[in-house]
């Protein structure tokens, strides 16, 4: 893609949306040439880590196309896709990127015209948003957070928590679930950002200043990161400990 033009990457499921895109072609429905399509068997295959990596590498928009609810070739794959994409959107927001840059649509194999329409509309929206802007550190933190097991459990288990409840039978309301997701995503994101900062030794105060977080919040994350053995004390400088990341944990 030429520099200056918006770049869109599409992940389309083989059975519905990819077939719908083919039908748009067979019917000669025209749409802007900004999208590059990657075929997957099911929208449920699309990992939030891959979505965020796509943004990290400079996509201005990411489009995921799956089957309509109830039509999934694999029964529920599109349902799981929806939850994973919601999770990716929350992380995008934390990294300061408009969540609208990530779009999920259900397009059936017979909706060629609709596919072309959605492409025109989405490309237009992305053009209005303009080229993507983010701090590399922040998007990297979002990528690592998406790979974290806690957020992955939540993205997958959301339906169960909403319908069947947790192991104590407590059923979550939509509102509680959203609050839980928001909190968890922010926590994970902050922790990963701190971890990235600790490629070089720093004190709690220094991190708090750099990331514009309260020192007590940073301290809590530091204690957690130490407990997970991701960081260690580097040295004690003027009665203040500095910490450093133990292992190199990167995105991809």
């Amino acid at each position: 893609m030429k520099e200056g033009e918006v770049k869109i990457i599409g992940f389309l499921c083989n059975w519905c949306c990819y077939a719908g895109a083919d039908l748009a072609g067979v019917s000669r429905f025209q749409y802007p040439p900004n999208i590059r399509i990657i075929r997957v068997m099911c929208s449920g295959r699309v990992d939030p880590v891959i979505i965020l990596d796509t943004f990290l590498w400079g996509a201005d928009g990411v489009f995921i196309g799956g089957c309509h609810p109830g039509d999934c070739h694999y029964m529920q794959g599109n349902y799981y896709a929806e939850k994973k994409i919601e999770m990716a959107k929350r992380l995008l927001k934390e990294a300061g990127v408009e969540p609208e840059r990530l779009r999920l649509e259900w397009v059936s194999a017979s909706e060629g015209e609709r596919f072309a329409g959605v492409m025109r509309e989405f490309t237009e929206e992305i053009k209005e948003l303009g080229k993507i802007k983010f701090e590399k550190d922040e998007m990297e933190a979002a990528c690592i957070a998406a790979a974290d097991y806690r957020l992955r459990i939540l993205a997958t288990k959301e339906k169960e928590l909403l319908e069947e409840g947790n192991k104590y039978g407590e059923v979550f309301t939509r509102h509680e679930m959203n609050r839980l997701l928001d909190d968890m995503v922010r926590e994970e994101y902050e922790a990963k950002k701190i971890l990235l900062k600790l490629k070089k030794p720093k004190s709690v105060k220094e991190i708090a200043a750099e990331l514009n977080l309260k020192p007590n919040v940073v301290f809590r994350h530091i204690m957690d990161l130490r407990r997970y053995e991701l960081i260690e004390v580097h040295e004690i400088r003027d009665n203040t400990p500095t910490y450093v990341a133990k292992v190199e944990e990167g995105g991809e």
């Binding site: 000669r28 025209q30 040439p33 068997m41 891959i50 590498w57």
Partner: protein, 568 residues
């Protein structure tokens, strides 16, 4: 990978379909500059025999170990190109398809330059993925040449007999002491009006006499293990445990009549259901001595009253019973209060007209003003709001008959869990696709027929019995099943055995098992359909979805995004 990558790229003109928009020679030239590409060429039609020959000879001449074709869509042409690679001795999964027609030249017909740029990008992405492709093998597994049919109603009996006649052993499992199911309680069948008992007797005899049908009466399913071709069904037969090996399973567990407790003054005596009326008629009570007025109420408990759906059979059933009463005793007044009336097809329509001729009276009520049954001093009055007259008509009744819907058996939920097949919103068993795969479950080797899947009459239940038998016989006749090569696998060194993959797999293909290292997820290859949801859900990212691996997808997206200058 130690092997040197040698990628061949074939760009198709597709006549003018691609060549008329995309600058194919420029794309070929560009492709030949890409890393690992040792050969690039263009063909007028890559899918023509000339085109396929040139792929084969290039594989030999340039010792290609990956092939990329940029042409139409994998949805139509991937099998052809894969087979071509295989003919030239290359594993068929070392082929990558790039769609530059349906998703490029055809949709950017007025933007020639940009379409060419896009084609180059797509080829570059395809080459990047091809570099990471791995050879894959399809698995095959033997099929135990016998079937299990669960439920010996008319549908199950039909299926069992049909499979047996095809030459395979069938285990027919029935929870009751005798075969027949719902048909056992019916009097006469529409539209032929033959006696249900006679009809049933012939079928039961045929099943009993068939040497390849093994009956298991008073038997219930305890557990089901395995997968298509190699199921193991554990039975409790008269208190004794039995294990059956089978290649396929057919679910024909039927349905039951809804009990209208608390509706329309239902008491089982003066206010009864259609099935109770059938039993009454069957006992030789068809003259209904002492009864002057019979009122039937349609959609009782159905279509939004208790269950949401239309039970499909009640209209014809009510018409039949009304006609039989009227014909046996013309002095009895028979009313059918209905909302819609479904008598589809020529035969049923004629039957409905005959009932009208016989003197059955039809009254239409709006669904939001259903009839009321009023009981006072031992007398029954059915108050029907007549839609056309826009007024209430009180009908005196000596007998009120409720046309109630068929509902799922309460034990279906247990069975659905054992078989790992879904129930739909109405609790009936849920087929793989309503139009395209009406008697299959999404899980291979398990099929369904009859009212277990939703209300249907005898004719439809029999048709479905034949259909399910025919579908189930395919793997039995073939003797083996081959599965996808594109499946997932677990890296046991990373897996922590949390089981989230097991919970998202719709096919029961991933299971957490005990290993020497502790609990680990394990993929049963023949069950896996390759959706990859387990991979994107795995909390440790320990699952690899072959042919669509994280590395391959990431390579595609990153390659698409980096500019040419960076690549070269």
């Amino acid at each position: 990978m130690t092997e040197e990558l040698r990628i061949g790229v074939f760009i198709c003109h597709c006549g003018i379909n691609i060549g008329g928009v995309v600058d194919v020679p420029a794309v070929v030239e560009y492709a030949s500059t890409l890393e690992n590409v040792v050969h690039a060429e263009r063909n007028l039609y890559t899918c023509s025999s000339d085109g396929l020959e040139s792929i084969k000879s290039a594989i030999n001449e340039y010792e290609l170990n990956r092939v990329v074709v940029a042409s139409c869509t994998p949805r139509t042409h991937e099998p052809l190109f894969r087979a071509t690679c295989e003919e030239a001795g290359l594993n068929r999964y070392l082929f990558e398809f790039v769609n530059i027609r349906d998703q490029c030249s055809w949709v950017h017909m007025h933007e020639l330059e940009k379409a060419t740029e896009k084609a180059k990008d797509l080829v570059r992405m395809g080459v990047a993925k091809a570099a990471l492709l791995e050879p894959l093998e399809e698995l095959t597994s033997e099929v135990t040449p016998s079937a299990v049919v669960i439920g010996a109603g008319i549908s199950g009996m039909t299926a069992a007999l049909s499979i047996a006649k095809n030459g395979f052993h069938v285990h027919l499992i029935e929870k009751k002491r005798e075969m027949g199911g719902m048909l056992r309680r019916l009097y006469k069948l529409y539209p032929t009006e033959e006696l249900a008992a006679e009809f049933l007797e012939q079928r039961i005899k045929a099943v009993e006499e068939h040497e390849r049908v093994e009956l298991h009466l008073s038997a219930s399913i305890k557990a089901v293990e395995g997968y298509v071709g190699k199921f193991k069904v554990i039975l409790d037969e008269n208190g004794a445990e039995k294990s059956i090996d089978t290649g396929v399973i057919i679910v024909a567990t039927g349905a039951k009549e809804f009990e209208p407790e608390g509706l329309y003054e239902y008491d089982g005596e003066k206010v009864i259901t259609q099935l109770q009326l059938e039993e009454k008629l069957k006992r030789g009570d068809s003259k209904l001595d002492g009864i002057e007025n019979v009122v039937m109420i349609q959609c009782a408990g159905a279509r939004g009253e208790v269950v949401g759906y239309c039970s499909k059979i009640c209209c014809m059933n009510a018409i039949k019973n009304a006609k039989l009463i009227k014909e046996a005793n013309p002095d009895i007044n028979v009313f059918i209060a209905h909302n819609e009336l479904q008598a589809y097809g020529e035969e049923y329509e004629l039957y409905y007209r005959d009932a009208k001729k016989a003197g059955v009276r039809f009254l239409r009520f709006p669904l939001e003003r259903r009839p009321k049954v009023i009981k006072s001093e031992g007398k029954l009055v059915v108050d029907v709001f007549h839609e056309r007259l826009q007024m209430n008509i009180p009908l005196e009744a000596d007998l009120v008959v409720l046309s109630v819907p068929l509902v799922q058996n309460p034990d279906a939920e247990k069975l659905s869990k054992m078989l790992k097949v879904p129930l739909g919103q109405d609790k009936f068993f849920f087929e793989a696709h309503v139009k395209l795969r009406p008697v299959d479950f999404a899980t291979d080797g398990i099929f369904l027929c009859g009212t277990a899947q939703g209300p249907k009459d005898i004719e439809e239940s029999i048709s479905q019995g034949y259909a399910a038998a025919s579908r189930a016989t395919i793997p039995l006749a073939k003797g083996y099943v081959s599965s996808e090569a594109i499946i997932s696998s677990v890296d046991e060194a990373i897996c922590v055995g949390c089981g989230i993959c097991e919970s998202v797999c719709p096919y029961g293909a991933v299971e957490v098992v005990e290993t020497e290292e502790g609990r680990r997820a394990k993929v049963t290859g023949v069950k896996c359909k390759g959706c990859g949801t387990c991979g994107s859900s795995c909390i440790k990212r320990a699952i690899k979805m072959h042919h669509f691996t994280d590395e391959q997808l990431i390579a595609q997206e990153r390659t698409a995004l980096v500019t040419e200058e960076v690549v070269s």
